[in-house]
């Protein structure tokens, strides 16, 4: 015999279940736009039936409905896929962004890029080769040199600035990881507490934890597993960052780049300082675009360094072999002044790092000397060879070379040299005159052994005079020649220098010319950036696709929620109606029966 009021209980359970379901619909709608939210469902189950023993048999009477659980609509496999691919996306996006910044540091192809500056530098040398005696052309060469140095140094500085930006972003990323892992640890605790016994589901906490995983996997690839209690264990390349037992904090340490001396931030495990490697995600992207010698900042600094080394070693070498208008030679165009270090000499450059080449690149300060700087630009390949006229055409020919700066102004000085000869026709002494043979000077500063190499100093110039053969020298033979500011107009070394920039190949530059080296570097940069952009684009499409899949499980659909709302509202209404019916039945029973005789 069943209880009279059993039906009331059944209906109350029904009302309650519809209410909870409606509440959940409300929760879903409220969170439709919440990041990481997954749709929740109320799982209803019939309660245990009551066995009624009737006259002939017993039968089961249903006792209503119960809320057995509220669960998330979620597909963990799609989540895992999302986490994996979002790491790759994070990597690609970072690479694309950083390569874009490197492109910015070179600003090609524009009128301000290094290529244009190189062309102007070359043009200046060509102009000098045509107008070697023109101090305007010399000034232009020097200033274009400064411009080239500035362009290279400017790009270098921009690349170095990028490194310090990257370092600070790495710091921020490490902090973010630490925040995520400590929050995951506390979420682990709460989830395990709530879910003990296996009936409750900590839906919203799990949503929050999965959202944190979305954020973490954009930064780095992580292996995420769930243990049987509900703890997430997060591993990055074998290092457990967080699990049910605790959190491994990360921190950064500083070190110095051995080549360029800029600061490097390295990510290590706090406490032990054990380094941790990253295989994907934004962090790996940052580290690669900072340290890679192929497509990272370091690689492009190395290329600028190679160009600087080329200018210091090979371009300088040609300049050193030439002569200035003051007949100075062995002067560097680029690099240090004073002791004139020969950059091709290993002794000078021993221990030179890649960075040293760039920092050594400057235009030789000596060329800025207002008195004789411009004269030191070596536009010609040979020192002054001076035409010598002999009085005795059968005598020993003489060659005259000069060094030093002529102090006689713009007019030339005519010099007569008269030799005296001993009995065996050896030159036994010389004297010279600068006034057409009126007065003779014997002030010979030095004389070598025969064949004599005489050295005289006339108006600031050191004149070296070599008299070639003895046989037909006659006593009193004179040699006449004139001294002046020098053979200014020869630009043959300027041609060689301009060839050095455009045509000559170099082993340092991988067998190409400076122009080719630079343009292929820019081409490679463009291709790397384009590649990164294309891969990122594809990856974005993939991640979007996966997000759509995920959304199709966990997302909130308003139509669906509204339908459910109607369903549960009507369910509630109907249950209430049953209650009314029962009420009427009971009313009939209680108030309408047993009224006989009243």
């Amino acid at each position: 015999m069943r209880s009279t009021f059993a039906g009331l209980n059944t209906v109350v359970r029904g009302l309650y279940a519809q209410q909870v379901s409606l509440d959940t619909v409300g929760h879903n709608i409220s969170n439709a736009g919440t990041d990481g939210y997954s749709r929740q469902m109320v799982n209803l189950a019939t309660t245990n039936p009551q066995t009624i023993f009737g006259g002939y048999a017993s039968y089961e009477v249903g006792t209503g409905v119960n809320v057995s659980s509220i669960t998330r609509a979620r597909d963990i496999f799609v989540d895992k896929q999302y986490w994996k691919e979002s790491s790759s996306l994070g990597y690609g996006q970072t690479m694309e962004e950083m390569l874009g910044k490197i492109e910015g540091a070179f600003s090609e192809p524009t009128a301000t890029g290094i290529q244009t500056v190189l062309n102007k530098f070359w043009t200046a040398w060509q102009t000098l080769s045509v107008n070697a005696s023109d101090s305007g052309a010399r000034t232009a060469v020097r200033e274009r040199g400064v411009e080239l140095v500035d362009a290279i140094q400017h790009s270098t500085q921009q690349l170095k600035d990028m490194v310090s930006d990257m370092n600070s972003v790495l710091d921020i990323n490490v902090n973010t990881i630490n925040q995520i892992t400590s929050e995951v640890f506390s979420l682990n605790r709460q989830i395990v507490n709530i879910e003990t016994g296996g009936l409750n589901h900590a839906n919203d906490l799990r949503d929050r934890r999965d959202l944190l995983m979305d954020q973490l996997t954009a930064l780095t690839s992580a292996n995420i597993t769930e243990d049987k209690y509900g703890n997430y264990s997060v591993q990055v390349n074998g290092v457990v960052l967080v699990d049910g037992n605790g959190v491994t904090k990360l921190t950064t340490t500083k070190s110095m780049d051995p080549d360029y001396g800029y600061e490097l931030k390295n990510i290590v495990i706090a406490g032990t300082n054990q380094p941790i490697t990253f295989s994907n995600g934004q962090i790996k992207g940052l580290l690669d675009s900072r340290d890679s010698t192929e497509n990272g900042v370091k690689g492009y600094l190395n290329k600028l360094s190679t160009m600087s080394q080329f200018l210091l070693q090979e371009f300088n070498q040609v300049h050193r072999s030439g002569y200035g208008t003051d007949n100075s030679t062995g002067i560097n165009f680029f690099g240090d002044s004073g002791t004139n270090p020969d950059y091709t000499d290993p002794a000078t450059t021993i221990g030179f790092t890649n960075g040293d080449w760039i920092s050594a690149l400057k235009v030789n300060q000596d060329l800025f000397n207002t008195a004789n700087g411009l004269a030191k630009i070596a536009a010609k390949t040979a020192t002054n060879s001076i035409a010598v006229v002999q009085s005795n055409t059968t005598g020993g020919a003489a060659t005259v070379t000069t060094t030093g700066s002529y102090t006689g102004g713009t007019s030339a000085t005519s010099v007569n040299v008269r030799i005296s000869v001993d009995g065996s026709q050896n030159v036994s002494g010389i004297e010279y005159s600068t006034d057409g043979g009126t007065t003779w000077s014997t002030a010979i500063t030095s004389a070598g052994p025969y064949p004599a190499d005489y050295s005289l100093t006339i108006k600031g110039l050191t004149v070296n005079m070599q008299i070639a053969t003895e046989a037909l020298n006659a006593d009193g033979d004179t040699y006449t020649f004139s001294l002046s500011q020098g053979n200014n107009a020869s630009g043959d070394n300027a041609i060689l220098l301009s060839n050095r920039l455009k045509i000559d190949t170099s082993l340092n530059l991988g067998g190409s010319s400076l122009d080719t080296y630079y343009s292929s570097m820019i081409g490679a940069l463009g291709i790397q950036k384009q590649n990164a952009a294309r891969l990122t684009d594809n990856q974005e499409t993939l991640v979007n696709q996966i997000r759509n899949w995920r959304e199709s499980t966990k997302g909130v659909n308003m139509d669906e929620e509204m339908t459910n709302m109607i369903r549960f509202q009507q369910g509630y209404n109907a249950a209430a109606r049953i209650l009314t019916t029962m009420d009427e039945m009971l009313d009939k029973l209680i108030n309408g029966t047993g009224t006989v005789g009243r």
Binding site: G100, S519, S552, T563
Partner: protein, 303 residues
Amino acid sequence: MRITNNTITYNFLTSLNKSLERQNAIQEQLSDGKILHRPSDNPVKTIRSLRFNTNLAQNEQFTQNLKDAKSWMDTTDGAMSDLSSIMTNIKELVVQASTGSNPQDAIQTIGKSVDNLINQIVTIGNTKLGDRYVFAGQNDKTQPFTRNGDIITYFGDSSKISMPIQPGVATPTQDSVNLSGVEVFGANGNEVLNHLLEIKQHLDSGTTEDQVWLSNTGLGYLDADHASILQSHTELGTRMSAYDMALNMMEGQNVVITGDVAANEDLDIPKAIIDFKTSESIYKTALSVGARIMPPSLVDFLR
């Protein structure tokens, strides 16, 4: 697939952003008419752009070198013509002086004229282009000829000045633009002048013996010297025509390279504008579709 409100929002935003990106790219190109703004826009075209612009700079420079060389040679040419006519003048005077009927003072007067003409020759020898002496060899900042009484000294040298008109090494025999004093005036740069001075001395003295010397040795000197001056002049003329041809070629090449540069990096503007309009209309459509499609759901119909 089950579609949710967020799916629609994400996808809408993604495609809206793509359409904006495309529009931004075309806008950047339209703003300056160039299709290249960074190497990654088109790496191959970027390398070609760098190379073409280098070629252009090279061509312009060699054209400039050629023009410099030509103005040098034009100056030299003018001076040589003047020199030639002065030599003819002197010869006329000497022929006149060497005919037997001249009184001594008439010959001496001719000597004065020749003396002036020698001064003119020295002036021509000191011809300058800008601040460079064209007949001084490489010693071009020093005045090459000075006359001190009857001594004329040459302070230049016999070196060639080369002006490169193509990549590579300049070869003095091919690419030189100057005539040095030695080439024009013989050994030591003053042989011809010394001959003229000698003639002048004989004219100054003006005796019958001098007249005989003038008609024999003097006129011989003049003929030989004028011939050698003409020879250098002719040599210069040949080089000038070679440089003219080279200049024509360079200017032709300049047109070709400029065309290459333009073809490589200039934007096809009509096409870009059509692309721009297309992407603009796609963007607008996306926006209006978004505005219509996004909100309606069952919510709107439940009252």
